[in-house]
């Protein structure tokens, strides 16, 4: 799906404070170039991300959502990412069932030292969302009269 398109998706990324946020930061300080489509929201732990955050992001204009946390075993709070893993596996399947392409809801493990992986993840997410186009299923419409 290398279709050329002008569509620049909005990606909302929920990054855990201890690993993924630091990883994204490292990518920045290492001058690693990655697509500028991501809006980062820092949370203390991927386990803090409520599935309703994903729903609301998609409602409010995000074309894709990424949740990223520490690798299993590395969670600052010991197990937060394990809970997140269960939650978003189900959420992703469920949204797919409603017709939301799985490319729009992604999850990754990015550690504080993985600036390069962060770039790869973002590229994959952005390309994936580009391929499926803008999210307009249950996006809030323009204000109705």
């Amino acid at each position: 799906m290398a279709e050329k398109t002008d569509f620049e998706p909005n990606i909302v990324a929920f990054l855990c404070n201890w690993c993924s946020y630091a990883g994204a930061d490292l990518a920045g300080t290492s001058r690693i170039h990655y697509p500028p489509n991501v809006r980062v929201i820092r949370v203390m732990c991927s386990g803090r991300v409520n599935p309703l955050f994903v729903m609301n992001a998609l409602q409010q204009g995000a074309d894709g959502v990424l949740i990223s946390g520490c690798h299993p075993g590395d969670c600052h709070y010991m197990q937060g990412n394990y809970y997140a893993r269960r939650r978003f596996n189900l959420m992703r399947n469920f949204l797919e069932y409603l017709g939301v392409e799985p490319e729009r809801v992604r999850m990754s493990w990015v550690s504080a030292s993985e600036g390069a992986k962060w770039k790869e993840v973002i590229e994959e997410v952005v390309n994936g969302v580009k391929a499926v186009g803008p999210m307009d299923m249950f996006k809030r419409r323009q204000l109705n009269w």
Binding site: Y83, R86, M91, F94, M107, F138
Partner: protein
């Protein structure tokens, strides 16, 4: 077949006990074939209790529905038990509620009804329209016997049976203090054919399907209120600060509502089908719940409402949970 006389006798005994506050069962509805919940507090009232395939309501809801007002100064809280009649599916709601520590086992007294299936009242009323006088439904073998207006009719069981019963894995209650009849062996199983059929469609088809359904929703919240698992005192849907979904009714907010409702039942829905039964605009809510049910079973080998000792699905994990979807 539950012997009604025996049921009433047991109920009389229970409600006469000092440590029982009320008994929740079924009684005849106000018209046609309907049955409705009955709340018995006095031995004199037990004669209205019934059980028949028309008793569709899941009474487990009432255990958590009652408003708990502050006890007036100088009064003791009423800690007496509540007795409740449950079918197989309903009993799983009790199990799940207890799994979530909604209340202690001692608070309730469970009258189990081994169940051979209940009717879908919509199917009944479509088949027998315009029946006002109170009628009766009994199941005899593989036929429902309907008596009304002095007439008697037989209908094949499958024609009036509720969809959920065709997939029922637990016809005999999983928790009870007293069983009102012989245990019923499992007579059906679930192959998730409906869920799989929808899963196979394209993203566009899926959304077209759900958009039409969700656009009908009037947000009466009957699906939430009837649900035995929706017992939060402060529901996320009602909160204005932060406001998770707006109260305005449009496709976006309705979808948000249905995502939130279904997700909150992930690993908790016990498949009693009440939400879909009560929906006035016929949104197939069970198709949403059943997607989670299927995934939870496949991914985590977990079946809600079957083991009160197990930790609730989403408040636990296994180190080797599937993560093939993670980058």
């Amino acid at each position: 077949m539950v012997d009604i006389e025996k049921l009433r006798e047991i109920a009389r005994e229970i409600i006469s006990r000092d440590d029982v506050r009320q008994l929740i069962g079924y009684r005849q509805g106000t018209y046609g074939f309907r049955a409705r919940p009955a709340f018995v507090t006095d031995p004199g009232e037990v004669d209205k209790l019934i059980f028949s395939p028309a008793c569709v309501n899941n009474l487990a809801t009432y255990i958590t529905l009652e408003e708990r007002l502050p006890v007036p100064r100088g009064q003791e809280p009423d800690l007496r038990k509540v007795a409740v009649m449950v079918k197989g599916c309903d009993s799983r709601a009790l199990v799940q509620q207890m799994e979530e520590k909604a209340y202690e086992r001692e608070r309730i007294l469970v009258l189990g009804i081994p169940c051979t299936g209940v009717v879908d009242m919509d199917k009944v009323e479509k088949r027998f329209p315009g029946v006002l006088a109170r009628g009766e439904i009994v199941l005899e073998g593989d036929k429902f016997l309907l008596t009304y207006d002095g007439k008697e009719e037989e209908v094949a069981k499958g024609e009036l049976l509720a969809d959920k019963c065709t997939r029922c894995r637990y016809p005999t209650p999983l928790v009870y203090d007293q069983l009102l009849d012989e245990e019923v062996a499992r007579f059906a199983d679930d192959d998730y054919a409906d869920v799989e059929a929808l899963e196979k469609r394209s993203a566009e088809e899926k959304w077209a399907y759900w958009e039409e359904k969700f656009s009908r929703c009037i947000r009466c919240y009957s699906c939430r209120n009837v649900c035995p698992m929706c017992y939060c005192e402060d529901c996320v849907l009602d909160r204005l600060n932060p406001q998770w979904m707006r109260r305005s009714v449009d496709v976006s907010e309705n979808t948000a509502y249905h995502i939130a409702r279904a997700y909150h039942l992930a690993g908790r829905c016990i498949q009693c089908g009440e939400c879909q039964r009560v929906c006035p605009v016929d949104i197939p809510l069970m198709e949403l719940n059943r997607k989670f049910y299927k995934d939870v079973e496949e991914l985590y080998d977990y079946e809600p409402g079957t083991n009160a000792e197990a930790p609730p699905l989403l408040s636990t994990f296994k180190v080797d949970d599937r993560e093939d979807f993670i980058m």
